[in-house]
């Protein structure tokens, strides 16, 4: 008996990487089964599907597993060709999108994590770096939004929107925990209006975890990191 197009996503509610894949699947209207993983007690299935990293997200399509959020999203885009197209058609534009996705995924994410886990002077330094990287992104995005105001809908959400949404969608909550504003109409007008437009989509609102849960988790991550660094 063949199961046509059975899609399962293994994730956790707080993983920004799993959130990316969820967004991609929902945008394309792909029916899927979601499996919440307990990372402190990983399921045998997760370990079987992602033996290299033993992490979420893992997409399983007709029994075949794929790990790494960006690889999964490219696979989704190539396998389900309906709108929205998550990566552009033109090779040069694709290269630019891949470059900036990598920037958001690695550089921006790392900078944010460093700020989250530091205090005092170290945090001051980390914040400066994060703000610099946000300026770099602000400049880079002018290329994608030449007329300054991104107009985002379910039909034109692409991989860059998915990446920025998964990392900085909850920026107001992140600002609350780290105690400083990082996104705003004065310093990062393009990123600010971009995130505002993305966060207004019903789909994004639907997939966002409860705010108090997110804040509690961010505070926990921060306190844990500060405890172990001062120990």
């Amino acid at each position: 008996m063949e199961e046509e197009n059975k899609v399962t996503l293994h994730g956790t509610w707080f993983s920004p990487y799993a959130k990316r894949v969820e967004l991609a699947l929902k945008l394309k209207g792909i029916p899927f089964e979601y499996v919440e993983e307990d990372l402190k007690n990983k399921s045998p299935l997760l370990l079987k599907y992602n033996p290299v990293y033993k992490k979420v997200p893992v997409l399983v399509h007709n029994g075949k597993p794929i790990a790494e959020s960006f690889c999964i999203i490219e696979y989704i885009d190539e396998t389900w060709k309906n709108s929205p197209q998550l990566l552009p058609e033109d090779p040069y534009k694709r290269a630019k999108v891949r470059f900036w996705s990598s920037f958001i995924h690695q550089q921006l994410y790392e900078a944010m994590l460093t700020v989250m886990k530091a205090a005092g002077e170290a945090q001051g330094k980390a914040i400066k770096e994060l703000l610099e990287k946000l300026q770099v992104l602000e400049e880079g995005m002018k290329d994608f939004f030449p007329n300054g105001t991104p107009s985002i809908s379910n039909r034109n959400m692409g991989i860059l929107e998915i990446m920025i949404c998964s990392l900085l969608g909850p920026y107001k909550l992140q600002e609350e925990v780290i105690g400083i504003k990082i996104i705003g109409p004065e310093k990062t007008p393009l990123i600010f209006s971009w995130l505002t437009a993305i966060n207004e989509l019903p789909l994004v609102k639907e997939l966002a975890p409860p705010q108090d849960k997110t804040v509690a988790l961010l505070k926990f991550v921060r306190e844990n990191a500060l405890k172990s660094s001062s120990a």
């Binding site: 690889c71 696979y75 396998t79 470059f99 770099v136």
Partner: protein
């Protein structure tokens, strides 16, 4: 006897006219083509055949633009010691793409590099028809899309996803290899541990099955992404005075290294071992002295 030739001549005249002008065009065209280099001739023939196929078989709107753009000028800003630079060199050569190579002095970065990659200020950078593309994995995907001949990725989407997974793994873990010669003490121990874990993972999960290369019988982007393991690791072991890769512990990886280095394009395009050893030793001495 009056032989009336008027009618015949009038009907042939346009025909002669067309043939004459076609002949001139053909002569001019062949003179131009004759003066092209072999690689440009190949690219031209490749483009014309692709255009013919695409127009008759596949009506994708961007196809014709790509076919013409693949003849634009290609430049590569690289550095002779960098495995990331070599990934791009191997891809370009395997596909028979003509390019101009520009060696970058990273201690004194050129205006061209800073203009082409203002965000990272790193090599390699591919400049195609004046447009810069940065980051080796991004460059390889771009090259694959513009010049599809001698494919470096599988055609099946699932196999492609697996290939991309391994390329990402290589990108994530390869820095541990260079950290072996860049660090000492505890930091170096960590770099060695991380490198060994990477080798173990490749051995146990990446090269399963009787495969010549990561993707099967043919070399692909994944093999190129692990170039550092095949050539740079051995030199770095010598620089640091450590033995990390033991052949008997990694039989599959060992076979892969042999297969990889036997591919003519790879064999002919590797940085000189002695030159590498000398430079990395000097670098290590300077780094340790400054600590």
């Amino acid at each position: 006897m009056n032989i009336n030739l008027d009618f015949n001549y009038k009907s042939i005249k346009p025909f002669i006219f067309i043939c004459f002008h076609f002949g001139i065009l053909a002569l001019v065209f062949s003179l131009i083509v004759h003066r092209l280099s072999q690689t440009r001739k190949d690219a031209l023939i490749g483009s014309l055949s692709l255009i013919t196929i695409r127009l008759t078989v596949d009506a994708r709107p961007t196809a014709t633009l790509i076919e013409f753009s693949n003849m634009e000028e290609v430049k590569l800003i690289g550095m002779w010691l960098s495995p990331y630079s070599y990934r791009v060199i191997w891809a370009l050569k395997l596909k028979g793409i003509a390019y101009e190579y520009i060696e970058e002095d990273l201690s004194n970065k050129s205006p061209l590099l800073l203009h082409s990659n203002p965000v990272q200020k790193k090599i390699p950078v591919l400049i195609h028809g004046g447009k810069p593309i940065c980051e080796s994995s991004v460059i390889l995907e771009y090259i694959e899309e513009i010049w599809p001949q001698n494919s470096l990725l599988p055609s099946d989407p699932y196999e492609r996803a697996i290939a991309r997974f391994w390329i990402k793994f290589a990108d994530d873990k390869s820095p541990s290899i260079s950290n072996i010669y860049r660090t000492s003490g505890e930091e170096q121990e960590k770099a060695v541990k991380d490198s060994l874990e990477m080798l173990k993972t490749i051995e146990e999960h990446g090269l399963v099955g009787e495969k010549k290369f990561f993707g099967g019988d043919k070399i692909s982007m994944v093999d190129m992404a692990f170039g550092a393991v095949a050539h740079w690791l051995g030199v770095i072991e010598d620089v640091a005075g450590l033995k990390i890769f033991e052949q008997h512990k990694f039989p599959r990886l060992n076979s892969w290294i042999q297969n990889f280095k036997e591919v003519p394009i790879i064999k002919e395009n590797l940085p000189d071992r002695d030159k590498m050893l000398a430079l990395l030793k000097r670098r290590r001495e300077m780094l340790l002295a400054s600590e």
